[in-house]
Symmetry: C3
Subunit: 153 residues, 3 copies
Amino acid sequence: MSVVTQLAENDVFRAYTTYAAIVLLKMIVMSPITAYYRMTRKAFANPEDAAMRGGDIKKYLRTDQDVERVRRCHLNDLENIVPFIGLGLVYALSNPDLHVALLHFRIFAGSRVLHTISYLVPLPQPSRALTFSAGLLVNVSMAYATLRSVCYL
Amino acid sequence: MSVVTQLAENDVFRAYTTYAAIVLLKMIVMSPITAYYRMTRKAFANPEDAAMRGGDIKKYLRTDQDVERVRRCHLNDLENIVPFIGLGLVYALSNPDLHVALLHFRIFAGSRVLHTISYLVPLPQPSRALTFSAGLLVNVSMAYATLRSVCYL
Amino acid sequence: MSVVTQLAENDVFRAYTTYAAIVLLKMIVMSPITAYYRMTRKAFANPEDAAMRGGDIKKYLRTDQDVERVRRCHLNDLENIVPFIGLGLVYALSNPDLHVALLHFRIFAGSRVLHTISYLVPLPQPSRALTFSAGLLVNVSMAYATLRSVCYL
């Protein structure tokens, strides 16, 4: 049986695949949201972008609080989803229990969706701090579980 | 036959490996380009970097439009190449058709190279918007194809 | 023998797993460090964060040199650890010699830990430049080795 067929029948790897695709899609969506805010707030970073709107270019070359908020949210996604993709992969391949793995993946995906909502609405703290921490703890827990079962320095 | 040998004979995985290495190398190159601009524009972020040039440190602790442009291009790479590495991996392991997979990988690699050129020259819009969108659509298409063939919530 | 069992017995992949978990854990730690600096320096990016401290919100909505330093260090991690995770994976699966692979992984992990120390203390240049370059060269070397053994355009 080929490796691709085997991975397609490994429930933990299928779960990893599903949740990795979901959180990466969520992250990708931040790009069009940033573009939307830049256009509605008329705040651009590049002269060639401001030029598309016509009129006074210099007036549109500015930072806007709403645009910067979306960008910080996007960067926070990067800082947390990158570890999830890397740690989730090596964790999924370290033969964990399916239910424990699913718990990790579900909490992480949920925490990142709620984090984005908390950041963009914005909801009062500690909404964002709590959703952020939940995702962080999932990453740390997967790293710990992986290093416990596979350690080769 | 070992898993490593099998993956070495799986054309889709070999294609993923090749294009992943290419786009990551392209992204890595942004670091020396940033350093080059910081030195020629004499615009540093850290006092210890400005100190290497000698003279008045405070004068060199400034932001420069060209340096910020390279940094935005680098961040845009991160925001798009990270999903490609993650989605491309799970997509390549979901047993897609070789020619369809190659089409995805080639369009993505081409779009990111052209995006960097559009950003750094800079070419007038919509050059950058189009090259950016092509890469984004490849990522969304790989996510859709992966979730269709492998879905385990 | 299942693919997961095989990977668990492949020393190169186990080494990749171990070092990937270590460098990602190191990167994750940057988030609490940023939060710590934001609180001790009383410099927040969002009004809802400053509101948690009470008092004059506007006074705390500012950038601080120490906070920005941690953030640059975190971003530099992202820019270099992302290629390591991607290139390290395809490199580990391209059947390299165990000792050569370990050399790559160890130099990279060491260089990133020393880079963080050089950045946050901060140590005088060229400490940071050298540790940064060591990590970059490991990434380029893994990309070269991978493309040499697996190339499918």
